[in-house]
């Protein structure tokens, strides 16, 4: 019964997302929505590793960066189609996942966080300093757009729908994985890792899968980002951005798709809506987020759930 209600919720959300740019068609907002959608994909991915498996991943910006640069450089330097680049990007995500996942089953807590930070910083600095190869600090320009059935996805609204399709696809994949034995295994690792091994499960394997999912999602998001904005630059992919992604799933509610969506929407749009505060908008934003963490440590979703139970 409640499961069907949940399904209706998703259908409604998709319908709302489809209608949104028709109602609010201003480029400013649509651009913001596009970026939010990209962030949602990343949040979906991060949800596996940080939200469900409970491993602190502060390297998402590095994943995002590699995805974006791979796609951008492939399509600008060799003029292959973004679609083929996308397949390569998925492969890259796979490699990072295994590469980052490998340390993750030996490392714990702070040691893992640092490894992910170090990875992301190394990637960012390489992208910034390998001038000949990546264009260095001047970034990569004129990244061609995706084409669908011969149509170029150029305008912001087209991009919106294009990315939305990916969000729906990845949302569906996430939903399935979360409500399967994999999802249960992720949570089991967070709850009690010793007991997972006695269930005959190779915990290293599960952690690597969680990392790989996160990095494939992150890389694909990176690829979409590169073609959507047509210009990328290493200064975007900072540690701060990694932190922002974690804040997203934390604010929304960890281990929950709605939480990811809500978190991404809030974190990427709130500062924009606070712009009217002028100089004080970043300060206000930080304070609001801090208050959220203090008063809703389970995320906004936990409060929603509590209210529902009260009724």
């Amino acid at each position: 019964m409640s499961k069907t209600i949940k399904r209706y919720g998703y259908v409604l959300a998709v319908a709302a997302a489809l209608l949104l740019p028709q109602v609010v068609s201003n480029t400013y907002y649509v651009t913001m929505f596009c970026l939010t959608l990209i962030y949602i994909i990343i949040a979906f991915g991060l949800n596996f590793i940080t939200g469900m498996t409970g491993q602190m991943n502060l390297g998402t910006a590095g994943i995002f960066c590699l995805g974006a640069y791979t796609s951008a450089l492939l399509t600008t330097k060799t003029s292959i189609s973004p679609w083929i680049a996308l397949i390569v990007v998925i492969g890259v995500g796979f490699l990072i996942g295994v590469g980052l996942g490998y340390p993750s089953f030996r490392l714990e807590g702070v040691y893992l966080s640092l490894t992910t930070i170090a990875f992301a910083e190394a990637v960012r600095q390489l992208a910034n300093n390998m001038t000949d190869f990546t264009g260095g600090a001047q970034g990569v320009r004129n990244i061609p757009p995706f084409t669908v059935f011969g149509y170029e996805i150029t305008s912001k609204i087209q991009n919106y729908y294009f990315i939305l399709a990916f969000v729906i696809l990845f949302g569906f994949i996430s939903y399935r994985i979360m409500h399967s034995k994999w999802g249960r295994a992720f949570i089991a690792i967070r709850d009690n890792i010793d007991a997972v091994s006695t269930c005959g499960i190779n915990t290293a394997h599960i952690k690597i899968i969680a990392f790989t999912l996160a990095s494939v999602f992150g890389c694909v998001a990176g690829g979409l980002y590169a073609h959507y904005s047509s210009y990328i630059n290493a200064s975007t992919f900072t540690l701060n951005l990694s932190v922002t992604f974690v804040v997203m799933i934390l604010i929304g509610g960890m281990g929950n798709l709605w939480g990811c969506i809500l978190g991404a929407v809030i974190v990427s749009m709130l500062p924009e809506f606070l712009r009217f505060l002028g100089e004080y908008y970043q300060l206000t934003y930080s304070i609001l987020i801090l208050l959220c963490i203090l008063f809703m440590p389970g995320g906004i979703l936990s409060v929603v759930k509590k209210l529902k139970r009260k009724r």
Binding site: Q22, V23, V24, S25, N26, T27, Y28, Y29, T31, M32, L35, Q125, N128, N129, T131, G136, A137, Q138, G139, R141, S155, K156, I157, S229, S230, Y231, I232, N233, S235, T236, T238, P271, E272, R275, G278, E279, Y281, Q282
Partner: protein, 381 residues
């Protein structure tokens, strides 16, 4: 916001820009103020948006007091671009959605590159201060203008001065690894190659707190001239370590050294006798410059330092106002066309003369540091 305005009537095809055009045209009739967008780095790092904003606001006040433009008042719409690409994109879109006639800023080329295509599409002229050579020249964009001398000019002039004046044989180029530093280094390198002078380029990241190995490499290579191209934040560290480790040779820098707050962090001995190329000097005897400084300090406080950020964007407003006036309308395309024909508009960083690339400034000042003051030496055209 602009979203609600066109929610009702407009059909799906012209949703992109119709909102804004409608609005500006409506505004023209009613004689509302003309909005000018300002993209300033107010949060994030490096910070310099405040001076930029102050300069712009001052210019707008002055123009408004003198009757405004096209008989209408000017109004600034300042948005933070936080020095990150995504925020800059959002800020640009926001400005456009609010119907600005032109945009002043951003100060950094990388952000300019990120938003260049947006303003092109929206047909809003943008007057940037980013000096990266790649930027304006390579972008095929009729709405992009640069109100500071390009690094093509600045770095080449700096390199040439070292060679001509001191006859150096091997130059150490210490540059930041950001687009600004790298861009400058590339221009200089090209020049040194062309005149057959050797060079040793060493870069550092903006966050670095130690550049020992870079400086030691230069000493090791027996460099007899030094050129530094970096943002303000790097100077105190580089200058201190150069003096500590003993890299002493004729040195020339980019305009950052001439910024008061940068000099304020140095010991005199570190930078004595250094040269710098710059767009703006407070020691310039030029009357307009002195008037500006007096006016600025009257407005914002006597202890406020005046630097090129205030001056360049102050002048930029005049250039834009001149363009709008000559265009006779607030239509983006017309204004851009008028701006392209800018001729001899006086400015504090040189006179504005637009060429076909959108470059508006073609002169720079050469200064030398004496006891933490930059003294005016020459103007290079």
């Amino acid at each position: 916001g602009g979203g609600q305005d066109n929610a009702g009537g407009t059909s799906a095809q012209n949703v992109e820009n119709s909102g804004e055009t409608e609005k500006t045209e409506a505004a023209a009739e009613s004689g509302d103020p003309i909005k000018i967008g300002v993209m300033a780095t107010l949060t994030g790092y490096p910070l310099n948006g405040e001076h930029m904003r102050n300069g712009v606001l001052m210019a707008i006040d002055e123009i408004n007091e003198n009757g405004g433009v096209l008989g209408r008042q000017l109004e600034a719409d300042v948005q933070d671009c936080s020095n990150t690409t995504d925020v800059a994109i959002n800020a640009t879109n926001k400005l456009i959605s609010e119907g600005v006639v032109g945009i002043i800023g951003p100060h950094y080329s990388s952000q300019g590159l990120a938003i260049e295509s947006i303003i092109k599409e929206a047909q809003v002229p943008m007057l940037v201060g980013g000096t990266s050579p790649k930027f304006v020249n390579e972008c095929d964009n009729d709405f992009l203008f640069r109100i500071r001398a390009s690094d093509d000019l600045q770095a080449a002039a700096a390199a040439a001065y070292l060679v001509d004046e001191y006859g150096v044989t091997k130059v150490a180029i210490l540059h930041g690894s950001d687009d600004f530093g790298t861009g400058g280094m590339q221009v200089a390198a090209k020049y040194f190659d062309s005149v057959g002078v050797e060079y040793c380029a060493q870069s550092f990241n903006n966050e670095d707190t130690d550049v020992t190995s870079q400086i030691l490499k230069c000493i090791n290579e027996n460099c007899d001239g030094v050129m530094i191209w970096a943002t303000e934040a790097a100077y105190p560290i580089v200058a201190r370590q150069m003096s500590e480790l003993g890299l002493q040779a004729p040195t020339i820098t980019n305009p950052s050294l001439a910024v008061d707050s940068c000099l304020a962090q140095m010991e005199p001995s570190w930078v004595e006798g250094w040269y710098c190329v710059t767009d703006f000097l407070t020691n310039n005897t030029n009357q307009e410059v002195q008037d500006f400084i007096a006016a600025y300090q009257a407005e914002y406080g006597a202890e406020e330092s005046v630097d090129l950020h205030c001056a360049a964007y102050y002048s930029a407003v005049y250039a834009l106002a001149d363009g709008i006036e000559r265009a006779g309308s607030t239509n983006g395309e017309d204004v851009a066309k008028a701006l392209r024909e800018t001729k001899d508009v006086p400015g504090l960083v040189g006179d504005f003369n637009c060429n076909e690339d959108g470059e508006m400034i073609h002169e720079i000042i050469l200064g030398q540091c004496k006891d933490l003051q930059i003294e005016y030496i020459d103007v290079i055209q």
